[in-house]
């Protein structure tokens, strides 16, 4: 036994290694990314680790491994599960042989996501058990248990951490290493092929399994009742730790039901809890999963307070403060007074494209090239480049989900002929779900310009390799797919590949591509600045600056600030990209030696 301060995601990976996982697949997505990154660092022998092209691919790869009797782990964020829904829904019927665990990270807030969907509800929808860790140390234990459960019931099991579990660390006691279970190998049986008659039979079996799993959860170590007063509190996930801190700090007399298995809810344990209390307050982020399960068990006998009663909000992340107020209100106690602190007016600080980001140069060139058209629409996608929405670029008019920029642009072009539609997509997103949209544009002959912002990495999630980078997840050489060749193979005939920092050439390429009738493409190729060594030179504003601020107003680089009527470049942030020098009307921005 040893201890390590682990982030929740790291604990999940270490738990899976201890459980003898052999195949690990996923697609990067905040807050799930560091699970696979831990495997990359740990280099555990006998574990095959991959960044898959997308989550559907990842789950299917893992399913094949699990069919063959190997333990497999799939990782993704909650939005990724939408992409993987097709295989998941079928897999709950087909089942698995080796343990298959899906670590799906939810993002209440949301901090870095398009939705606040609740994967516990998804588990219920797919008839699959779900474990809801409240901390990193519990995530370590639950991951191991999830593999056991998966093999016992021959079903995939979902582990659902949230941001405050994934990105929170704790001191975790790590068990001794255990040998990987042997792999039986793929056994040919008709049950691996889904057909209507089999689906009917399997659906029936699946419903029976739900009760058996719920029975198993009656004695799960992840559910616990801490006896106190006759006021009941039930909590799931990180809300349990918020509740625990408030209850301990104020020594509140409550009976606390910690729920680690929100679906299927253990009915007898729920009844036992309800029998000890006169009412219940349910604390859980996102959907009222535990609340509705307790409402069903209570059947009107015991009042259940939560989201349905307006005691707690449906959206957003919970906090100590929010839970404290809900608990004090529920106990009819006076909420501790918080003396308000008068703060001066604070500036907002939204995330921005980094100084020297090639996306800024690409967006600016596209903007300059399309300025003269009566209307141009810029469809965006998911990645760092979504930040192109901010002023002064204002180059993201739409953003829906992975791969949707290319297709939404087609719909706008159909509905509004004559409007110039440009669809921006990153290289990793292009491989993830961009390609079918490109094929559709060619097949339907729709006049859009696809812009692939190729920075040679999956930048937003922390620089993971993808099929275009020539490296696999472990950093070993892999065949690098060429995006221009792929666009050609998809049928696009008008393609320009440029370095976005070659400003004049980029503007020219955009002009030609947009002018072309029918689908066209521009690939802007320059590596992510965060992965580059800083050059020994920077750009500096000299005495001839007239203080017009055009540089800031046009490109909005975070290294530039107005100071005493002129512009100053923060040398520690400047990467010498030279975009600002292209904008300055008086040539006051020049290259010089770096001092910081």
């Amino acid at each position: 036994m040893s201890t390590r301060v682990c982030m929740g995601n790291e604990a999940i990976a270490l738990g899976a290694i201890r459980a003898g996982v052999r195949v690990v697949a996923g697609y990067p997505g905040t807050p799930s990314t560091e699970i696979i990154e831990t495997f990359v660092h740990e280099k555990a022998p006998g574990v095959n680790v991959q960044w898959s092209t997308n989550e559907k691919v990842a789950l299917e790869v893992a399913a094949g491994a699990a069919y063959s009797g190997a333990r497999a782990l799939v990782t993704m964020k909650q939005m990724g599960l939408n992409v993987a829904t097709d295989p998941l829904m079928c897999l709950s019927y087909i089942g698995v042989k080796g343990g298959l665990v899906l670590a799906v990270a939810d993002d209440p807030g949301p901090w870095s996501s398009q939705t606040e969907q609740d994967t516990r509800d998804f588990a219920k929808h797919a008839n699959l058990p779900v474990l809801d860790p409240s901390s990193a140390e519990e995530a370590y234990e639950m991951t191991q248990e999830a593999f056991e459960l998966s093999e016992e019931f021959a079903l995939p099991v979902i582990l659902r951490p949230t941001t405050r579990v994934c990105h929170a660390s704790a001191t975790v006691e790590l068990g001794e290493a255990t040998p990987q279970p042997p792999v039986a190998g793929f056994e040919k049986r008709p049950e691996w092929c889904i057909f209507p008659a089999l689906s009917y039979k399997k659906h029936g079996e699946l419903e029976v399994k739900q009760h058996k799993i719920a029975e198993k959860f009656e004695t799960s170590k992840f559910n616990r009742i801490d006896r106190g007063g006759n006021k009941g509190v039930a909590a799931s996930g990180i809300a349990y730790l918020y509740a625990k801190e408030v209850i301990d700090e104020y020594q509140l007399e409550v009976t606390l039901f910690k729920v680690g298995t929100p679906y299927p809810m253990p009915e007898n344990l729920s009844k036992e809890f309800l029998s000890r209390v006169k009412s219940v307050l349910v604390l859980e982020e996102l959907d009222p999963v535990v609340e509705e399960a307790l409402l069903a068990v209570s059947n009107g006998q015991t009042p259940v307070y939560g989201k349905h009663t307006g005691n707690l909000p449906w959206n957003g992340e919970y906090s100590y403060e929010l839970v404290r107020k809900a608990l004090f209100d529920y106990l009819d106690a006076k909420v501790p007074e918080v003396p308000g602190v008068e703060l001066p007016e604070m500036p907002k600080r939204p995330p921005v494209l980094c100084a020297g980001c090639p996306h800024r140069a690409s967006f600016y060139a596209a903007k300059v090239a399309t300025r003269h058209y009566p209307k141009a629409v810029y469809c965006g996608d998911i990645g760092c480049y979504t930040l192109g929405n901010a002023a002064p670029l204002n180059m993201t008019d739409t953003c829906l989900c992975m791969g949707a920029g290319i297709t939404v642009a087609q719909g706008i072009a159909l509905a509004e002929p004559g409007t110039k539609c440009l669809a921006f997509i990153g290289d990793s997103t292009f491989f993830h779900t961009g390609i079918p949209g490109v094929i559709n544009a060619v097949y339907q002959n729709i006049d859009i310009t696809v812009v692939v912002l190729d920075n040679h990495t999956t930048a937003m999630t922390g620089h993971q390799p993808h099929p275009g980078t020539g490296k696999n997840a472990m950093g070993e050489p892999a065949k690098a797919l060429d995006i221009e060749t792929m666009l050609k193979a998809c049928g696009i005939e008008e393609i320009y590949t440029v370095n976005p920092f070659d400003f004049d050439a980029s503007v020219e390429a955009f002009k030609k591509a947009v002018e072309h009738k029918g689908p066209s493409a521009v690939i802007t190729k320059a590596p992510c600045i965060a992965q580059m060594k800083r050059p020994a030179t920077v750009h500096r504003v000299n005495e001839s600056c007239i203080g017009c601020l055009k540089c800031i107003k046009e490109v909005g680089c975070p290294a530039m600030t107005p100071e005493n009527g002129k512009v100053v470049i923060n040398e520690s942030l400047c990467t010498d990209c030279s975009l600002c020098a292209n904008v300055c009307p008086v040539g006051a921005i020049k290259r010089g030696e770096r001092h910081a």
Binding site: E245, Y320, P344, P558, S572
Partner: protein, 194 residues
């Protein structure tokens, strides 16, 4: 005894590493640690915080309002933004250097440096306020700001670790080829506080 340390700054300034070093130091002493980090979109130049809660298990990884014992601010406005988190008698180390957001340069919002400093001094009268950026540049790279501030916090005696414990933790967390520069940054911070 529970100590809650809040580190704040702008995405890219290295709050994560500072938090990791303190977790490492706590772990080496056998203390139970919880931390919570800002990872994701906000890392691209947005407001970021790292929360550390040392030596207590039944608490959340996020420091509640009025519960931070120590604040380490990498940027002036970001430090001021966290004033509501400060416990009574909290101590702080704040870099007085500023990073003015682009939206302020575009006339969306204000950056009131003098007011932020005054508010911080009022909230933490015994705080240490230093311009740490030149020290980081002196150490060899502006990006060692995080280690300069860690050194300053250690020098001011605010952290529940000894200087030696922190140095060992830095050695365990920093790439070997960057160690000398970071050690210099730590020493400069230490000296600035003493």
């Amino acid at each position: 005894m529970l100590k809650s340390v809040l580190i704040t700054g702008v995405g890219g300034q290295g709050t994560l590493l500072a938090s990791k070093i303190m977790s490492e130091a706590a772990g080496r002493r056998g203390l139970f640690v919880r931390t919570s980090e800002t990872i994701g979109m906000a890392q691209r130049g947005g407001s970021v915080t790292s929360h550390l809660r040392i030596d207590a298990k039944n608490v959340s990884p996020v420091i509640p309002s009025e519960h931070a014992d120590i604040l380490i601010g990498f940027e002036l406005a970001e430090a001021a933004r966290q004033i509501p988190k400060l416990a009574e008698n909290a101590s702080c180390v704040v870099n007085t250097d500023t990073l003015v957001p682009t939206n302020v340069a575009l006339k969306q919002g204000k950056y009131l440096a003098d007011e932020y400093l005054a508010a911080l001094k009022k909230a933490a009268p015994h705080g240490l306020f230093i311009n740490a950026t030149p020290l980081a540049i002196e150490a060899g790279d502006a990006r060692t700001l995080n280690i300069v501030l860690l050194g300053a916090a250690a020098g001011a005696g605010m952290l529940p670790f000894s200087v030696e414990e922190l140095k060992d933790a830095i050695k365990a967390c920093v790439k070997p080829k960057l160690l000398d520069m970071n050690m210099k940054a730590f020493e400069l911070g230490l000296a600035a506080a003493q």
